[in-house]
């Protein structure tokens, strides 16, 4: 047991970035320990809820169609970030995204056939067969085969840093607290989206009504330890990816099924039965991720999506049944909304709808005129029963605040130096590349690319 407590590389966090780093380091000969704060059944961090990763490619592959040139991925990243990102690191992610799927397959990752999926994203994104949980199962099996030690339910509560180097970790498990000596450490413990107290410092009391879409274990403990130890921060605590989720979703780990796609097809009102944003501003995938923050700014952080029978087959079925009623008033009563106000809102809306040709495949000409705010596309009168309503809450996916790293994934210190043997990968450093917006699947790409870099850097440092 005594030598089991000393490792070349300790990886803090057992999600995609952590396992990637661990596998790379082990392949380079390091003795590797993975510490995951979740129990075994819920291992894998937020990666368990993911489905794909975004990869540039110059020619079709078995898992990606057509081509997605590197400059196009770079343009996509620049666009969502408004240009505000570390250009060198973003370029690194783009270049090395091309290698991801082949590397992943070496460790048992399986992908969907590019041409068979129902989602038309297979040009830009490679889909994991069975999703992220299946991917993580493959990685954990590979880790076991290669002789990587994994400890579940092990939370790192102390990084013992001396002169910019970490020589041991304080780890808390059910059995107690212990020190683990390490030559190098990879921090891949995610963000702090499950830490509502921390979110409150940025969002105030509104954070109390946030739903956390992913793991309850991303409490930001390690991120905070590093920032307190003088790591250079990137991004700010208020930046997060948040979507509108069904208000009946569980507090944690609701994942993909709690999302609602009905919003652009009807009305969205707040608890006073008032509209507050243009539901038809743009295609849903482009506006999907603004609604979390929009609802977070409404009273009580709650809103309601209301549709009528005309569009009820046009969005993905929700995991929660709609609240249904034969009249707008009846729906208001069931949803607990002021009935007179909702009737008035719907009447005003219906009266403002201009005739047009309804077409969800285009930015159609169905719009309202004279409302504040107007609905600029896909506006149809809400007049055909049954009427359906879904309660909506902000669902936070991940946070952007992280530690700044260099191209070797070394964590940089506020004083301009770098920590000698501390590396970071995944959500804890994604803010270097992603400051505001999001393009689907880029989180897993950042995790894979920087996981590989961090694992290699850590193993090389440990062997010196």
């Amino acid at each position: 047991m005594s030598n089991a407590r000393e490792y070349d590389v300790a990886v803090v966090g057992g999600g995609n970035a952590g396992l990637t780093a661990a596998l790379v380091a082990r392949e380079l000969g390091a003795r590797v320990l993975v510490l995951d704060s979740a129990p075994r059944a819920l291992r894998g961090g937020n990666s368990r809820h993911t489905r794909n990763l975004r990869c540039a490619h110059a020619a079709p592959t078995g898992v990606l169609t057509e081509t997605y040139p590197e400059h196009e991925l770079m343009d996509d990243l620049t666009r969502v970030n408004g240009g505000e990102m570390d250009q060198e690191l973003a370029q690194l992610v783009v270049e090395r995204s091309t290698e991801c799927t082949a590397w992943m397959q070496k460790f048992g990752a399986r992908f969907q056939h590019a041409l068979r999926g129902t989602l038309q994203l297979s040009r830009t994104n490679a889909f994991f067969l069975g999703g992220g949980t299946a991917l993580m199962n493959s990685y954990y099996a590979a880790a076991e085969r290669l002789g990587i030690d994994v400890r579940y339910g092990a939370e790192v509560v102390g990084l013992n840093l001396r002169d910019g180097a970490c020589d041991s970790l304080t780890v808390r498990t059910r059995e107690g607290t212990e020190q683990i000596h390490v030559r190098a450490v990879v921090l891949a413990a995610g963000g702090f989206e499950a830490n509502l107290d921390w979110l409150r410092t940025a969002w105030g009391d509104a954070a109390r009504n946030f739903i956390v879409r992913g793991t309850p274990h991303n409490t930001g403990t390690v991120l905070k330890l590093m920032l307190d130890a003088g790591a250079l921060a990137v991004g700010n605590a208020a930046e997060c990816h948040a979507v509108a989720v069904d208000g009946r979703a569980p507090q944690f780990d609701g994942g993909i099924v709690t999302r609602l796609d009905s919003l652009p097809l009807g009305l969205v009102v707040n608890r006073d039965a008032q509209r507050f944003y243009d539901e038809g501003e743009d295609f849903w995938p482009k506006r999907y991720a603004i609604w979390g923050k929009l609802i977070a700014r409404q009273p009580g952080q709650i809103a309601y999506s209301i549709v009528d029978a005309k569009v009820q087959s046009r969005f993905m079925p929700s995991v929660f049944p709609p609240v249904a009623a034969g009249s707008v008033r009846g729906l208001a009563e069931q949803l607990g909304l002021p009935a007179d106000a909702l009737e008035a809102t719907v009447q005003r809306f219906n009266a403002a709808v201009r005739p047009g040709t309804f077409d969800t495949a285009t930015l159609d000409d169905c719009r309202t005129v004279g409302l504040a705010p107007d609905k600029t596309h896909w506006a149809q009168p809400i007049d055909t029963p049954p009427f359906w309503g879904y309660p909506l809450k902000p669902g936070i996916t991940f946070t952007y605040l992280g530690v700044r790293v260099d191209a070797d994934a070394r964590v940089l210190a506020a004083n301009g130096s770098a920590f000698a043997n501390v590396y970071a990968a995944g959500e804890i450093m994604a803010g270097n590349v992603l400051r505001h917006g999001y393009v689907a699947g880029i989180g897993m790409t950042i995790g894979t690319v920087f996981g590989r870099i961090a694992g290699q850097s850590a193993a090389q440092h440990a062997s010196r």
Binding site: P39, A41, L42, R48, H49, R51, G108, R110, Q112, H113, R116, G117, T118, F127, F128, L129, G130, G131, G132, T133, A134, N137, S138, Y140, A141, P250, D253, G255, I256, V257, S313, M316, P317, S318, V319
Partner: protein, 362 residues
């Protein structure tokens, strides 16, 4: 009431799957469920019988226990399958038979039939057990055997046919998706799917027996069992033809019925013994107790019938032939009468589901 509960639970689980869809490329069950919005009893029955129980989707599921959604598709659909078997059973009064079977009841039933046959044989002929020289009809007269097994076969065939018809009618009520162009046939393709079990091995990988443990044995042993059973059945048919053509038993070891029966019997014994072993090593989460018991009863009777058949063949000139024949016939009879009320029906219902799936695609 229990049936309604199982359908309700399946509908709950399938609604979560339909909102997630991460498993869509695993198998037809997920592709078929995506084409639906509501999961009524007929839809659940169709999807449950389309599921081969490969197990991939349990380990891939972000909502599997201990998640509060507690999604376990293989187990839920295994339970729903048994409910569908009961629903299609004829006569309905015997549907309860699906719930009372296990390895133990299978053995007891075989024993009871053997005892009854023994009594009948001795009543007909006090020296029945001393018949020798592979003279099976000296133990139990040919006419008695034909009447007994012919009668049972007629009943079994009727019960299976009515069950299959009920299944087809029920699946037809599982509304086809609005945009699918229903093909006229899909039978040839579905037969290929069924006889190769290609959906058991997802994405050309072996099916799972535990988390990240994949072996090809379940599929291979099922092939042994299915094809072994088919060869034994063919052997019986050929022998019956020979008999009516004026060539009565016993047949030489090199004759067609004996060669078919021997090959079939060996395959059946290997396949069923293997499947019982695989069941012991497989993660119990991947199935449901009600399904496991049906599997156990059916596979045990197949093993017993195949094994006693081989022993009888080997010792047909031995003094113990009479006793062995009685034991073998008891096992075969127990297997036969439970065919319409046990795991055997899955072949017909899964085939019907595969045909429907083939027709819904394209």
């Amino acid at each position: 009431m229990q049936a309604a509960e199982e359908i309700r639970e399946a509908a709950r689980v399938l609604a979560v799957c339909n909102a997630c869809r991460y498993c869509e490329q695993y198998c037809p069950a997920f592709q078929a469920l995506e084409q639906r919005v509501n999961f009524a009893s007929a839809d659940v029955n169709y999807l449950a019988n389309l599921c081969h129980g490969c197990g991939e989707c349990l380990y891939a599921c972000q909502y599997a226990p201990p998640h509060e959604f507690a999604i376990n598709v293989p187990r839920t659909l295994a339970a729903a399958r048994v409910v569908s078997y009961e629903q299609y059973a004829w006569p309905a009064a015997l549907a309860g038979a699906f719930r009372v079977q296990s390895v133990v009841t299978a053995l007891l039933l075989a024993l009871a039939f053997s005892a009854a046959l023994l009594g009948a044989a001795l009543a007909l002929n006090g020296d029945a057990l001393s018949a020798t020289g592979a003279d099976f009809y000296g133990v139990i007269p040919h006419a008695v055997l034909v009447a007994l097994f012919g009668g049972v076969a007629l009943f079994v065939a009727t019960a299976l046919a009515i069950g299959a018809a009920r299944c087809r009618r029920d699946f037809a009520a599982a509304a086809a998706p609005p945009h699918s162009h229903v093909q006229r046939s899909g039978v040839a393709g579905a037969l290929h799917d069924a006889f190769t079990l290609r959906h058991l091995h997802v994405g050309d990988a072996d099916c799972v027996t535990a988390l990240e443990v994949r072996t090809p044995w379940r599929k291979r042993l099922h092939h042994c069992t299915l094809y072994g059973f088919t060869l034994c059945f063919a052997s019986t048919c050929v022998a019956a033809l020979y008999h009516f053509a004026g060539y009565p038993a016993p047949y030489a070891y090199t004759s067609l019925p004996v060669v078919l029966g021997t090959l079939g019997g060996v395959a059946l014994v290997i396949g069923t013994a293997g499947l019982l072993w695989v069941r012991r090593t497989r993660d119990p989460q991947l199935s449901h107790a009600s399904q496991d018991k049906l599997d156990g009863a059916f596979v045990t009777l197949l093993l017993l019938a195949g094994g006693t058949g081989l022993v009888l063949l080997a010792l047909r000139d031995h003094a113990a032939m009479g006793a062995l024949l009685i034991v073998h016939l008891g096992a075969v009879l127990a297997l036969f009468v439970t065919l319409p009320y046990g795991k055997f029906v899955h072949g017909f219902y899964r085939l019907a589901a595969l045909v429907k799936f083939r027709r819904e695609q394209e």
